[in-house]
């Protein structure tokens, strides 16, 4: 006999907020906005999975704290517990923020494989008039939100337990807001490129985002300053927006408490924001082309609804 889930009472529909947004006249007129909101709503239902709050809490809180603690222990062993050194705040914050980078870069490609292989709904979705890139960005936004929650928790944890020097006075609020907006725009452009290419991949598509975010971890200054890298490898880091975003966020949060390194010494906050702006524009223009090309290729090869049963 089938065991049924509890029936959700009338009036407690989880689409309530999304429904109100979707009822706004300008949203109703825009396929892209509707697709984004519905993608984000669906992503949140999947990612948060409120049916099991314990699992959600472990995933969102305990896992990132545990992973950052490994780093803290390693650092403490090597430096004999010198957590008051500015380099500790540099490394700690870089790792906390990199949770978001991983979420944004991997979130979209994960949504592609999730729809295609796990839920097997690609056929239903891509014969409806959704705007694919907006829907995928919405799915990625849900992952970003989960990542952002984890980042905030890990950061607050670091401030309270390890004395990471973030204070009201150290935060440059306008620059922080600009950094968040520009950073997320550029990273989501890169995430969309990876997601679009995932349509071409079969069973390995789920690894695409994680592979790239994992590789960038070494070159973007998340774990150690770029100055430590050989000049050739340093150049690799300088072509990715995550490098500038991490630098911008550290500056915005730590202010004068931040340790500086020669690589970015010549760039003031405005210059870094400008670079992120240029990268955002470039990546979104590229993403538009790559997405169109990839969808055309996917229709050509017949792989939009590919199921490999991996």
């Amino acid at each position: 006999m089938t065991t049924l889930s509890p029936v959700r009472p009338e009036g407690e529909r989880p689409m309530g907020f999304a429904d109100r947004l979707l009822s706004l006249p300008f949203v109703q007129r825009s396929d892209a906005l509707r697709s984004f909101i519905l993608g984000a709503w669906l992503g949140w239902q999947i990612e948060s999975n409120w049916a099991d709050p314990l699992l959600f809490a472990v995933y969102s809180f305990a896992r990132p704290i545990a992973s950052v603690m490994i780093l803290v222990v390693m650092y403490s062993v090597i430096t004999d517990g010198a957590t008051q050194q500015p380099i500790f705040a540099y490394i700690y914050l870089g790792n906390a923020l990199y949770i978001i980078v991983g979420g944004v870069l991997g979130g979209i490609s994960w949504a592609v494989i999730d729809d295609r292989e796990h839920y097997r709904t690609a056929k239903q979705l891509y014969t409806s008039p959704l705007v694919g890139y907006a829907y995928l960005c919405g799915r990625g936004a849900a992952r970003l939100l989960i990542g952002a929650i984890s980042t905030i928790i890990v950061t607050v944890f670091g401030v309270l337990l390890f004395g990471i020097p973030i204070t009201i006075g150290s935060i440059d609020l306008p620059f922080l807001i600009a950094s968040i907006m520009l950073g997320l725009t550029s990273l989501s452009g890169l995430g969309l490129i990876i997601g679009a290419i995932s349509f071409q991949l079969g069973r390995n598509a789920w690894q695409a985002g994680e592979l790239i975010s994992g590789a960038l971890y070494l070159f973007t200054g998340a774990l150690f300053p770029l100055d430590i890298l050989p000049p050739v490898l340093r150049e690799i880091g300088l072509i990715f927006p995550a490098t500038y975003w991490l630098e911008a966020m550290r500056r915005a949060l730590l202010g004068t408490n931040m340790i500086g390194f020669p690589t970015f010494a010549a760039l003031d906050n405005t210059a870094i924001a400008f670079i992120l702006l240029i990268m955002s524009v470039g990546l979104w223009v590229s993403a538009a082309f790559v997405y169109r090309w990839s969808m055309r290729q996917a229709r050509e090869k017949g792989v939009i609804d590919l199921e490999t049963n991996y």
């Binding site: 979707l22 396929d31 239902q45 999947i46 097997r120 056929k123 239903q124």
Partner: protein, 345 residues
Amino acid sequence: MSSTPLAIETHDVRRIYKIRGGKRKGEAKTLIALDGVSLEVPRGELFGLLGPNGAGKTTLIKILATLLLPSSGTAKVDGLDVTTQTQEVRRRISMVSGGETSGFGLLTVEENLWMFARFYGLDNKTIKSRLAEMMQMVGIYDRRSTKISDLSTGLRQKMNFIRGFISDPSVVFLDEPTLGLDVTAARDVRGFVKDWMAQNPDRTLLLTTHYMAEADELCDRLAIIDRGKTLICDTPENLKRRLQSETIFHLKIQPLRKPTSPENVVEAVPGVRSVTIADQTDFSELRLSLQGEEALPAVLSHLSGRGSGLLSLEKREPTLEDVFIQLVGRRLDEDTNLNGTGEER
């Protein structure tokens, strides 16, 4: 909606798949799934595509539903080119496939349908009224708050049907919609299709199936497709009328022994136009198409000569399956050759 009288129009559509693993390194192996299919389906018609597995039905539907590009030729839905006017086509169509176990299992029936209705830009009031009406119509209203993962295959397919029809599409593609359903659920689905077409006479429905009775019951017109080619296209009545001059018998006989020589087969008996044989565990089933009843004694004598006694005999009116056998030379559920084994009988 477009003013064009044709809801679906294909002209010489070919689709070739490249398959990995050619005979030699670097050599691409190809499979021709569609080989020059031309169809015209007027608005308001329930059109069927009938053919065995691998005939090209799903490939054609995928092209029309914008999931796949044709290798050559043109395909239009509601007067719009499926290759270049993709988004406009998608606003007007929907697709429901049979045997789907898909769905966002963590959503409830209502949430899932709400989401898809919203993709089509429907407002809340319309969604609410259509959902209530359609869920009651197919009998899943009381399961609206149940998670999809907890639905049976039949209920899930009913939900998929509502998803396909809730946007009030101009053209609906139903790909084997009753596949895997029990008799009652399949009957409900067919009933829903008939009611919807009756209530929306300007809408068009393209159905693929390999259930002959389903095609006969539902379709205004149908095309028989095999190995990527359209063999014939007409109303079920006209197709069956083609066989009026033939006499069809269905025989159940004791298992038939192999012929002693290539000439000693049922087809060689005078008056036999075509024969198909399906072997069961304890008996064989023959479907005979004869020039006239007078040919029957010779057939029975032939069978007796091969050690096979008659268990039952029935004379039948021509069916679509008989039309299919006449055109294709094999039964719908067979793969290739006369009896699916390549063995002459």
